[in-house]
């Protein structure tokens, strides 16, 4: 068994076991991994050299889809809620992405930010649909015929989230290794050559953008269930910035990076709030500076070790 796989297995086992020892970690780990999906979405676009400063909107769209369906239509099934959230977020991503992926660099970043703030405003103002600034409450979903208690559902949600992380992480890994995934990185290095190979940069990017929106939507749906409430703040631009920070901190070389970054940030958050509540942002800032200076490939680079110096990564 190759080394990174051992590390991966150990990491997942630790995440699965941690809540058994420390019950409140169930919530922390679930939320961390859920946000990790959104950070993975941002990381995909970073591979193409595009920084989205608006991806929290897809996270919010996923979260609101779950909350709205539960409150207004009475659909409570976990699988349906998750699937619907992914679909709605992906469709929103394809619709906005169709024009957003025509832009590059600062224009792409700012336009994503602008669209996300429109979504934020809509979440705050459309009281009838979104509950305005009060947000929407999210009850305890059912799992097929099972109607669990809140505590039992939280445990289920943790393991379902971890399971989804493994399945989607594996699919994401396959995607990055595929012709389409390499084409995505090629947009970054030489878009002109890519077009002259007969490949449309626009389609390549839109595909990635749709996938990234779907991942963020999934993260939003899982977070909504874990938190039990959705708020317009989910779409606020600072949340989008947080996703970029998470992706960069964890490393964008492979699919594991954003999850590692997200778990690291949530754990630091828990510790910092307990020890030095006022210094939370300071600690995060210093951590980020250290990573950028000493670990240019992110925390993921630590695990990856000395392999992959040629730029290709495996996990």
């Amino acid at each position: 068994m190759p080394k990174p796989l051992i590390g991966l297995a150990a990491g997942v086992a630790l995440l699965a076991a941690l809540p058994l020892a420390v019950p409140f970690m169930t919530f922390v780990v679930t939320l961390a991994v859920a946000k990790g999906f959104a950070a993975l979405g941002v990381a995909l676009l970073l591979r193409a050299g595009l920084i989205s400063l608006g991806h929290a909107m897809y996270f919010a769209i996923g979260a609101y889809t779950t909350a709205f369906l539960m409150q207004k239509t009475g659909i409570t099934d976990f699988a349906i809620l998750v699937a619907a959230s992914i679909i709605v977020a992906t469709l929103a991503g394809l619709a906005f992405g169709a024009f957003l992926v025509r832009y590059r660099a600062i224009f792409f970043a700012m336009l994503n930010l602008a669209v996300s703030m429109v979504i934020y405003a809509l979440c705050s103002k459309l009281y009838g649909v979104t509950g305005g600034t009060d947000g929407l409450r999210v009850g305890v979903p059912t799992v097929f015929a099972w109607v669990p208690e809140k505590a039992a559902f939280d445990t289920f949600l943790l393991y379902a989230t971890l399971g989804l992380m493994l399945v989607l992480g594996w699919l994401g890994h396959r995607y990055l290794k595929s012709p389409l995934g390499h084409a995505l990185a090629a947009v970054h290095t030489n878009e002109v050559r890519l077009e002259y190979l007969g490949v449309s940069a626009w389609s390549t990017l839109l595909t990635a953008y749709g996938i990234s929106a779907g991942l963020a939507g999934l993260g939003g749906a899982l977070s909504a269930m874990a938190i039990g409430h959705v708020l317009p703040e989910f779409a606020f631009w600072t949340e989008s910035g947080h996703l970029v920070l998470t992706a960069v901190l964890g490393g964008v070389g492979g699919v594991a990076g954003p999850f590692i970054g997200s778990i690291f940030l949530e754990l630091v958050h828990v510790v910092a709030v307990g020890v030095a509540a006022e210094a939370w942002n300071l600690i995060i800032g210093v951590a980020l500076i250290c990573v950028i200076f000493f670990l240019p490939r992110g925390l993921f680079g630590l695990i990856e070790g000395r392999r992959g110096k040629t730029g290709g990564t495996d996990l």
Partner: protein, 254 residues
């Protein structure tokens, strides 16, 4: 070389091309034909519109008047990616490579582009792509550099690497913009020898812009002399080089 070239079917046909930038006419009623199996060289002074012509043929620029046909099909208004899929592959004056990828990954991406890029779950690095990529690298003498990041290759090899990317598309027509510029005069003939051998083994047709008269005389079946946006003369290199107008405007000998 192929003396029967002119009797073969026209592969690329440009007729009445016009384009201008500000007041400068970069193409002013250009007619040019490349036949199947031909190696056609374009020569001419700087700024006479040679690269502009290549840009029109590969879809980067749209002419204000005139048409380009590839094997009888109008490709004038198509974007570069569609023209690439129709069978015109281009190598650039300044090499255009995926500099963060190894040379073989560059090639496998080009091969994948030909077979259809829309594969999201099967790997790029698969045995059949790798074998084909190695075959092309061997053909062009780059096999030893397969695993080198293309961003770190020396200039001469980057030029060849750029050409291999075009090769990997298995085109009908190869368009080369100054394949030997920026290369020492000794390397120049080595590169051209390798290139010609490779093109002949693939039975490719080629259109190339070239400044070096010795290269043109030795390798082109036909030479087209460009001047101020139009074709001033064309024919076999040996004949064209005798033309006093050509000598004056292009070769620089009065």
């Amino acid at each position: 070389m192929s003396s029967q070239a002119t009797s073969a079917a026209p592969l690329l046909q440009a007729s009445g091309l016009e384009i201008s930038f500000g007041g400068v006419k970069a193409a002013d009623g250009v007619n040019l034909t490349v036949h199947e199996g031909e190696f056609v060289a374009i020569i001419g002074p700087n700024g006479s519109g040679k690269t502009t012509f290549l840009n029109i043929c590969t879809g980067y620029l749209k002419p204000s008047r005139g048409q380009v046909f590839l094997a009888g099909r109008d490709i004038t208004q198509l974007p570069p990616r569609s023209i690439a899929r129709q069978g015109i592959a281009r190598a650039f004056q300044i090499p255009q490579l995926f500099t963060d990828h190894s040379l073989i990954d560059n090639l496998m991406l080009s091969i994948a582009a030909r077979h259809g890029i829309w594969q999201a779950l099967s790997p790029l690095d698969r045995p059949e792509y790798r074998a084909e990529a190695m075959e092309i690298l061997e053909l062009l003498g780059l096999a030893a550099h397969a695993d080198t990041l293309t961003g770190t290759l020396p200039e001469g090899l980057r030029k060849l690497a750029d050409i291999t990317l075009a090769f990997a598309l298995d085109p009908r027509l190869l368009v080369l913009d100054e394949p030997t510029s920026g290369v020492s005069s000794i390397e120049r003939f080595q590169i051209m020898e390798t290139l010609m051998k490779a093109m002949r083994s693939r039975k490719l047709s080629a259109l190339f812009v070239e400044h070096d008269m010795d290269v043109v005389e030795r390798y082109a079946d036909r030479v087209v002399v460009w001047n101020a946006g139009h074709v001033m003369a064309e024919g076999r290199p040996a004949e064209v080089m005798q033309d006093p107008r050509v000598l004056e405007s292009v070769v620089g000998v009065a």
